[in-house]
Subunit: 314 residues, 2 copies
């Protein structure tokens, strides 16, 4: 597989273009809105410059040259081996689009969706080529956040999962394979559980939103950024993870019991409270520039992790 | 406050000695077991060398010189302004010890516990000086993980909380203040929620333990290491956190509904499963050397964050 079609030119599609382009693949990016494509062209060039300036890319010009922009869906799909869809998160949009993709893509091309929350089974069931459809969910932005969650529908061919996994490794991502569909896939399920616990503490007035962020970014988030949660607890008891779970399982069980009280995620008073606490830290007009800052911090972190892995192993 | 007594010479007490010693405070470390103190002396010197070699410490010899070892509890407490207890996590141990601390420490000294799971109210209630007792819970190891959770008992004097908070800032830690006692404090509550979600997926065979760690260390753990979870989602929807919660709240609500099914944390079959998957990655005899690696990675990350904060702001 060396020809990639990207459908949807928003932030996720742009980021995929960088991932595939820098890895040497020929990319065709399509969006139904020419203005989106024009914006994509500018953003991709700017991000490639950022990556090069932080030493994360040897030849940004080559990568830029490999990303082409298609005027029609057909042009993007022509001879593509792998299609990555990154359009709005609405099941009816994906259902209509995947019908087109299945009709016009080459017969053995893989059709992958970037969806973060819609299982492939809900928009591919009726397709003749449903066995070649699956989810390959990136974390924004994937050119500095390598995780890709590969989640097949019940009818996805296992060879399609294998090939997608191999492709993601080949372009430098960190793929994981889910054995079956679950809501929110893996990462957002953990994020949701953590944020749910955090929201309850803010709602109850135990701490404010900023305390939550401090607790993670100056606390357990540090270890998680290079070890993950299981390796973390594996090193936090003399006898490893089993020892840890036997020592602290009862405490966590008690906490879970408290967290089992339902939280209403649509509670507008709670939403207003966290919104107010966040806006006191960062005014709304600055959200955009802060996102650029985040991407640059992620790039710097990626460069650091590369050095640290060389120095200390990973 | 400039004289610190540390009671308990294990890994946490040693780490506190580094935190206070490098910040210019006079430290007296006591442990009832002379062999523990001797080990502490060696470990503290080794860690100070590591910190200096990674550019995190200007004068390790000065810091080392400020850490003294007390032969008796009384000697450690003599003229201390602040006492930090780091002994085993058993409420009866802490109750007996705090009675001694309250009797022998200077009348206005603060008595803080490093406990990660026992609220101060459960071992200080009967003390004459209970208003000067509280929890100051570090994350291991605190010389590279700055979070300190300050959690008062219902009877803790708010001036004691203020002074502890100021002291932690003065020694370069990142303190947060809880307004009331909750089980597990803040960080471990979030860690517990995340690990609970992860254990369910491993139990159900959706993914293996290593996939969980990849999903965090190559995924959402990256952003959390410098932003925290609320700032992360604040930047993940065009209109900020309120917009994010309105877009994705329903998905997270559905996930929470599934997570509400109780998990038995003492399930030995589940413990054996994650233990087996971890031991396939890291054999038990290597846990110790991996902990040293973790500390060095944390030091390198701290050095990186310091540089990145200069380059891009934090």
């Amino acid at each position: 597989m060396d020809r990639i079609a990207l459908v949807g030119g928003g932030l996720i599609g742009q980021a995929w273009a960088i991932v595939f382009g820098r890895a040497g693949y020929e990319v065709r990016l399509f969006d139904a809105d020419p203005a989106v494509l024009e914006q994509a062209r500018r953003n991709i060039a700017a991000r490639l410059d950022d990556l090069a300036s932080l030493g994360l890319l040897e030849d940004g010009a080559d990568a830029l040259d490999r990303v082409r922009y298609a005027a029609t869906l057909g042009e993007a799909l022509a001879s593509a081996d792998y299609v990555q869809e990154s359009t709005p998160e609405r099941v009816e949009v994906k259902r209509a689009l995947f019908e087109e993709l299945d009709r016009f893509a080459a017969p053995d091309a893989i059709l992958a969706s970037s969806t973060s929350g819609i299982p492939a089974s809900s928009f591919t069931e009726g397709l003749a080529g449903r066995q070649r459809c699956l989810v390959a969910h990136p974390i924004n932005p994937p050119f500095v956040t390598p995780l890709v969650e590969i989640c097949p529908a019940p009818w996805t061919d296992s060879a399609v999962v294998d090939r997608t996994h191999a492709l993601m490794l080949a372009v430098g991502q960190a793929p994981i394979r889910l054995r079956r569909e679950i809501q929110g896939f893996v990462a957002n399920r953990m994020q949701g559980a953590l944020i749910g616990a955090a929201l309850r503490m803010v709602k109850d007035g135990v701490v404010d939103a900023e305390d939550i962020d401090v607790a993670i970014r100056h606390g357990i988030g540090l270890r998680w950024s290079f070890m993950g949660p299981f390796e973390t607890i594996d090193l936090n008891a003399p006898g490893g993870i089993a020892d840890y779970l036997r020592r602290y399982g009862q405490l966590y069980q008690a906490i879970e019991h408290e967290l089992a009280t339902p939280l209403d995620w649509s509670d507008e008073a709670l939403i207003a409270k966290v919104e107010g606490q966040r806006r006191a830290r960062l005014r709304a007009p600055r959200l955009g520039e802060r996102s650029v800052w985040r991407d640059r911090r992620l790039m710097a972190l990626a460069a650091h992790k590369r050095r640290a892995a060389d120095d200390f192993g990973e």
